[in-house]
């Protein structure tokens, strides 16, 4: 017999080793995969956009001489005390329970030093965060864990959470491992049980009810606080329009890349739209209502750098929010803990089992030993540095585009690298004047 070459082993593009591993995991465990973090698959994103910069017909601003302002007002529509931030990068709501007390403290420290706000989350307001965050947004969630009128009045703004980008239409989950005494007490639940957060608010449904709920919140707080409404990236045009109709001062729009503390993987990867596709629709809704810049738009979901900030703002956002990036700045997923990640069967930069409460970096845990690894003062300083760098980066781009305020960035400053991104963001494909679905021709 001659030695004929054999067909080499070929992996299926449909049944990849990762897919098969998940089938085996499901078959063995009988439970869906729950994890933290955001979408891991490739999605059209800000990386698919580029700025054009100045040229013959556009004049740049001098980097070291000419001012490029970065401040933002939030809540100017109805609130007696709108919020003024030095930079347009805010810290997104992340629950105490998901995060440790010291991690909350670090977020407050870093944000305050950088001149921006932090946001509470499911589970209520902690002293760590109120004490260290100059501007604190208080989330009003379906679970109402820890919700009380005193904290409502101690907050600087109120964010009614309708949805989250990682799971539009889904509730929350905090598994038993993380329900330590203090978390249980704040949430009024027995220790060690799996705690489910409802997906709908208990006392209102739909935009007409929400309008009345917002009236109640304003009356309780004597119309002082800006009221934000947070929605996941599902139907951004209508969700934004209906939030405005319900009386929102600020709309917070979270795309599908947005992180979560614990959600089913199937939900994270398959429900919702990328933030790139969401922003233009939300801006259009605001423009159609004559409310762009009157009701402010904060966007989030996979924001990592000053370039992302500038691109989101060029598309019409007033500010952005970061969750995952802030945790990484604090030290989450850091290679210095590699040995511990290996013990958990994972590796730095891929660790996402935040719900298990065994975070080697001591950030997404309630375990006193692990959370003692985390230094909130150092963490705060790192977050401040990172926020400052993002701001400098965004300013660098804005000056190159000839803008003396980040808010003056505009879609005309952008082109897209892919047809998908061009269609979603509503900017031309690079080298053409083609916006798929809107303008024709090269």
């Amino acid at each position: 017999m001659t030695d004929l070459p054999r067909t080499p082993p070929r992996y299926s593009a449909t049944f990849t080793p990762a897919v098969n591993a998940e089938i085996r995991r499901a078959a063995a465990s009988g439970i869906y995969d729950i994890r933290g973090g955001g979408t891991k698959r490739h999605l059209p994103h800000f990386d698919d956009l580029l700025f054009l910069g100045a040229s013959m017909s556009r004049y740049p601003l001098e980097g070291y001489r000419e001012k490029c302002a970065t401040d933002v007002w939030l809540g100017t529509r109805h609130a007696k005390k709108p919020i003024h931030l030095d930079i347009p990068v805010t810290i997104a709501g992340m629950s105490f329970g998901a995060l440790s007390g010291p991690a909350k403290e670090a977020l407050g420290r870093g944000a305050t030093e950088a001149g921006t706000s932090t946001t509470t989350g499911d589970g209520g307001m902690t002293e760590e965060e109120r004490g260290h965050s100059k501007t604190l947004v208080y989330q009003y969630l379906p679970s109402r864990y820890g919700m009380n009128p005193d904290d409502l009045r101690r907050a600087d703004a109120i964010e009614v959470v309708v949805g989250q980008g990682a799971k539009p239409g889904g509730g929350g989950m905090l598994l038993g491992q993380k329900i330590w005494d203090r978390v249980a007490e704040m949430r009024n639940l027995p220790k060690g049980i799996d705690q489910r957060s409802a997906c709908r608010h208990p006392d209102w449904t739909g935009p007409d009810d929400l309008e009345i709920k917002i009236l109640e919140l304003r009356e309780i707080t004597d119309w002082e606080k800006p009221i934000y409404v947070k929605v996941g990236g599902a139907r951004p045009y209508y969700d934004t329009a209906l939030s405005v109709k319900a009386g929102a001062d600020v709309v917070v729009l979270d795309g599908m890349q947005g992180g979560t503390a614990a959600t089913q993987d199937v939900f994270i990867e398959h429900v919702g739209m990328p933030i790139l596709a969401c922003i233009p629709q939300a801006v259009k809704a605001l423009q159609d209502l004559g409310m762009h810049r009157k009701v402010q738009l904060i966007v989030s979901g996979g924001i990592r750098s000053g370039a992302d900030v500038a691109k989101a703002m060029a598309l019409g956002a007033d500010a952005v929010a970061i969750g995952t990036a802030a945790l990484i700045a604090l030290g989450d997923n850091d290679p210095r803990w590699e040995e511990d990640y290996q013990k958990l069967g994972t590796t730095a930069d891929a660790y996402d089992d935040w719900h298990e409460g065994r975070d080697p970096a001591g950030i997404t845990t309630q375990d006193p030993e692990l959370s003692a690894r985390f230094d909130p003062i150092l963490g705060g300083r790192r977050l401040k540095n990172y926020l400052k760098v993002m701001t400098l980066e965004a300013q660098t781009i804005a000056r190159a585009c000839g803008k003396n305020h980040l808010h003056n960035l505009e879609p005309e400053d952008l082109v897209a690298l892919t047809i998908e991104a061009a269609a979603m963001a509503g900017v031309p494909l690079a080298g053409t004047n083609w916006i798929p679905g809107r303008t024709g021709g090269f």
């Binding site: 009128p149 038993g176 489910r196 006392d203 009345i212 009236l215 109640e216 009356e219 309780i220």
Partner: protein, 229 residues
């Protein structure tokens, strides 16, 4: 007695005057006339005062109440006494959906019937309903007491945590993980007190009630229970 005409003076004036009352105020008795179903009447109170609303209210009357006693001499719209912290709210007539939702403390008394989702997600409040309650009441209720002199609608106590439910009449159906439980001496004692404070002791006796609570089977996820969710 301070009389406040809601129709002429407006909601903002009402709530800001009531919020201005701190600690030992002498203006302890208030009467609100012409409520005409307005929303958010007497919300966010935090003083030991007595407020009577002469007529029916819209959404969220006495929402997030602390310390105050609020009486609605009429019926109440959705979310009456939602997230109440302490104090007492009494509705002489009927209450719409989500009465006492997420309430953390204090006592809510409904002399008539309460609609669906009464006591939803309650977290420590006591609710006494003289009449019947609608479907999905005490959904995900965490703690506190719900006492019903009449009947309960479908799916009572669905996904219940540690709240206690007492029903004198019939229960159309129990929700997931909600079961009937034995009445022990401490429950009779508790009921006696709640019936008295709920102005219902002349109508019903503790022995006439059955108790419902959590089977605690859904407390930690198990795939074999998936069909109960």
């Amino acid at each position: 007695m301070q009389t406040f005409d809601l129709e002429t003076e407006g909601l903002r004036a009402l709530n800001s005057q009531l919020h201005a009352l701190k600690g030992q105020t002498n203006l302890t008795a208030w009467e609100i006339v012409n409520p005409k179903g307005a929303h958010a009447i007497a919300v966010g109170l935090d003083a030991p005062i007595d407020v009577t609303v002469r007529g029916s209210t819209g959404y969220y009357c006495a929402g997030m109440n602390k310390q105050a006693t609020v009486r609605v001499a009429g019926s109440a719209g959705p979310g009456v006494a939602e997230n109440m912290m302490s104090g007492t709210v009494i509705v002489d007539g009927d209450a719409s959906q989500y009465a006492g939702a997420t309430g953390r403390g204090g006592l809510l008394v409904i002399k008539g019937n309460a609609s669906s989702r009464c006591g939803i997600s309650m977290k420590g409040i006591s609710i006494v309903v003289h009449g019947n309650i609608g479907h999905m009441s005490a959904f995900m209720a965490q703690s506190g007491n719900l006492v019903v002199l009449g009947n309960a609608g479908e799916a009572l106590g669905d996904s219940l945590y540690e709240a206690r439910i007492f029903v004198r009449g019939s229960v159309k159906s129990l929700g997931a993980d909600c079961i009937e439980k034995e009445m022990r001496p401490e429950h009779y004692e508790l009921l006696e007190d709640l019936l008295k404070r709920g102005e219902a002791d002349a109508k019903a006796k503790p022995e006439e009630f059955r108790r419902y609570g959590s089977a605690r089977k859904l407390y930690n996820f198990n795939i074999d229970n998936a069909s109960s969710y």
